[in-house]
């Protein structure tokens, strides 16, 4: 059986993670620009899943480094909340993660995303989900 | 005489009263409870029957109280306002009195979420202070809470509890005064371990003259084990167990013996404090030790007898 190649979405803050993401090219990963962690809503994460993602990662600025006020902290909390939803749905909370990344640190971005991607590979497709 | 119960006679004749506590069973056999009562028959003046103590379902206090009356013993029927509204509270008072119960002890009751049925609805139609007043009005004015008349008069000796160890401390004595105003005639205290705080409380009580208006009985519970002491210390709101007490128990070879010894000493100590008119021994799950405690305190036997 061929190895499963999951599709993954990264929701990246335009002030940090997205600038790093732009410098990378990771197969199977789609980086989506968000204006700030504070602007992220629970529904955006769920939508990513509903539109085919098998894993989502939210990446915002480093601690204490939000361009606005605590957008990164808020994003982290929202991720924690949606993890709860995913758990309740039987999708599993491990398909969602949060990481802080600086604008100039594509290495860390790559590392974090790759790590998550490997996990998704191991997990395989979302159970019950009809592959589009 | 308000009820003419043995307890009332003992107290009103100026004797230092002794009562014991009995917890009814969690099944239909009241046997062990009655055995405990028999066992302490010559050592106590009356028997408190707890009312779903710690919010755990048990044989109703009225049922056990009536059984004691049948045996010629004087029950103190506890009534929490947690599980009954004013209709049922008054009905139970009538029922108890009709069957010879004379002492009614009004308590608020531990919150239902802390007991055996944490999903239960708490009633709290009236509070314990209001219940005292209701009984007083039934007895003295011959009226129910609604103002309707009783068809036959009620005799009742009204009891309550006070807790010197709860907060706000500075309000506790005023709260006691309020209960006296509401109609309480005798009170038992929460389990005493902190003598310093107790003395301060009693000083204030005596300064206000409350000990002249209401019989105050000291609540004593012997400690059986270090674990139990620690549990009460940390988890039971409104009980203070000083570290020295725990240390003393810890240091003892025979914990049970030491626990009993401390209880005996505590009773001897409270007899020295102005204002106390009796002792209430709550030997929870250790009822068989009540006679021993009473004997060892000294000077408490024989219990007065009345015809």
């Amino acid at each position: 059986m061929a190895e499963h190649s999951p599709s993954m979405v990264t929701l990246c803050c335009e002030n940090s993670a997205f600038l790093a993401a732009e410098k990378t090219n990771l197969p199977g990963v789609k980086a989506v620009k968000i204006p700030c962690g504070a602007q992220l809503e629970h529904v955006h994460i769920l939508r990513a899943f509903n539109q085919g993602a098998e894993g989502v990662m939210v990446l915002a600025c480093l601690k204490e480094n939000c361009k606005h006020s605590f957008g990164n902290d808020r994003a982290e909390k929202k991720v924690a909340y949606v993890k709860g939803l995913l758990k309740d749905m039987g999708v599993g909370e491990d398909r969602l993660a949060y990481a802080p990344v600086a604008a100039n640190n594509e290495i860390k971005y790559t590392q974090a995303v790759k790590e998550m991607y490997e996990k998704l590979k191991e997990m395989g497709p979302i159970e019950g989900k009809v592959k589009k | 005489m308000f009820a003419g119960s043995n307890l009332e006679k003992v107290l009103s004749n100026g004797h230092f009263a002794v009562t014991g506590e009995l917890g009814p069973m969690r099944g239909t056999d009241l046997g062990p409870c009655l055995e405990h009562a028999e066992h302490m028959r010559n050592h106590v003046d009356a028997y408190n029957i707890t009312c779903n103590q710690t919010a755990v379902v048990r044989i109703a206090s009225m049922a056990a109280a009536i059984k004691l009356v049948e045996r010629g013993m004087d029950p103190v029927m506890q009534m929490t306002v947690r599980d009954r509204n004013r209709i049922m509270l008054q009905a139970d008072i009538l029922g108890g009195a009709a069957c010879g119960v004379g002492n009614f002890l009004c308590i608020q009751g531990d919150h239902q979420t802390l007991g055996s049925e944490p999903q239960a609805k708490g009633v709290y139609d009236v509070d314990s202070t209001q219940l005292m007043r209701i009984i007083k009005n039934m007895r003295d004015e011959n009226v129910f809470a609604s103002g309707d008349k009783l068809e036959a008069p009620l005799k009742a000796f009204i009891g309550g509890v006070v807790n010197p160890f709860a907060d706000p401390f500075e309000y506790r004595v005023d709260r006691f005064a309020k209960k006296i105003e509401a109609g309480v005639q005798f009170v038992q205290t929460q389990c005493i371990y902190d003598m310093d705080r107790l003395k301060e409380y009693m000083k204030r009580v005596v300064d206000k003259g409350l000990h002249e208006k209401c019989y105050i009985m000291a609540g004593i519970t012997p400690l059986k084990a270090v674990g139990a002491a620690m549990y009460m210390k940390n988890n039971v709101a409104g009980i203070i167990i000083p570290d020295e007490i725990v240390a003393r128990l810890k240091g003892a070879k025979d914990k049970k013996k030491e626990g009993l010894k401390m209880a005996i000493e505590q009773i001897q100590q409270i007899r020295e404090i102005e204002g106390f008119k009796g002792v209430h021994i709550m030997a929870i799950a250790w009822e068989e030790m009540v006679p021993h405690i009473v004997e060892e305190v000294g000077g408490l036997l024989p219990r007065p007898k009345f015809d």
């Binding site: 809503e41 629970h42 529904v43 769920l46 939508r47 899943f49 509903n50 939803l85 309740d88 749905m89 039987g90 999708v91 979302i126 159970e127 019950g128 989900k129 009809v130 | 947690r82 004013r86 608020q108 009751g109 531990d110 919150h111 979420t113 802390l114 708490g122 709290y124 139609d125 009236v126 509070d127 314990s128 202070t129 209001q130 007043r133 209701i134 809470a145 509890v161 006070v162 807790n163 160890f165 709860a166 907060d167 706000p168 309000y171 005023d174 709260r175 005064a177 309020k178 105003e181 509401a182 929460q190 709101a237 409104g238």
Partner: protein, 226 residues
């Protein structure tokens, strides 16, 4: 305001599983402010149901929408026709909204997506506190602004009970003793004598214990021809 909390997803899924066309309808008043049943939450819930349905291979047509208030007919009117296209409405309003919807659109299935928790206020962002039981006979004048019916776990009128310890209620270490609060407040206001007054048994017939309540005010009723 009315404070609510989302029902567990599993319960929502179980209740809605048999319907093919679902409208998740938020309410933009109280429950939106307490972040439980507004437009955002409606969208989120719809998305979650969609995801669950895909997983269980039980496709659904679902839409999230919201109106200003589900507890008033005139706001429901605005979306009435549109609602009728769905098999079921999962209402994220409080119990009042759900029932108003059910009365207004009697031919439709209306399901609650929230548990209506209590009447309260936001203590701080993310923390809500109950402080009124709508007992119909306010006693706040006696206690100068702290409700014994609501803030005392045993609704005592003459508290505090013996379980009050260092300002904390016996029920839980996270619950303040309402009567300790009242005492402190009366003390600060120089009104401690209020603590000495025996408050008589409360008249509960004005609360739910008198049966479901209704208020009729002739002065504001609209009479025909007026």
């Amino acid at each position: 305001m009315i404070i609510g909390e989302r029902k567990p997803l599993e319960e929502v899924f179980n209740r809605t599983d048999s319907f093919k066309k679902i409208c998740v309808l938020g309410c933009e008043t109280c429950v939106a402010v307490c972040l439980a049943g507004g437009d955002k939450e409606a969208q989120e819930t719809a998305e979650a149901i969609k995801m669950h349905r895909e997983q269980t291979n039980n496709p659904v047509e679902i839409k999230a929408s919201s109106i200003q208030r589900q507890c008033e007919y005139e706001f429901i009117d605005e979306v009435m026709e549109e609602l009728k296209e769905y098999d079921v409405i999962l209402s994220l309003a409080c119990g009042v909204g759900v029932q108003t919807m059910a009365t207004k659109v009697p031919e439709m299935f209306i399901l609650p997506g929230l548990n209506t928790s209590f009447l309260g206020y936001p203590l701080e962002q993310g923390v809500w506190m109950e402080n009124c039981k709508a007992c119909g006979d306010c006693v706040l004048d006696r206690t100068y602004g702290i409700c014994p019916v609501t803030r005392c776990s045993k609704s005592m009128m003459n508290g505090p009970c013996g379980g009050s310890s260092e300002g904390i209620c016996e029920v839980s270490k996270d619950t303040e003793c309402g009567w300790a609060l009242i005492y402190d407040r009366l003390k600060a206001l120089g009104k401690l004598e209020y603590m000495d007054e025996i408050i008589p048994p409360k008249n509960w017939s004005t609360s739910f214990h008198g049966g479901p309540r209704k208020i009729v005010r002739e002065d504001v009723k609209i009479v025909r021809g007026e």
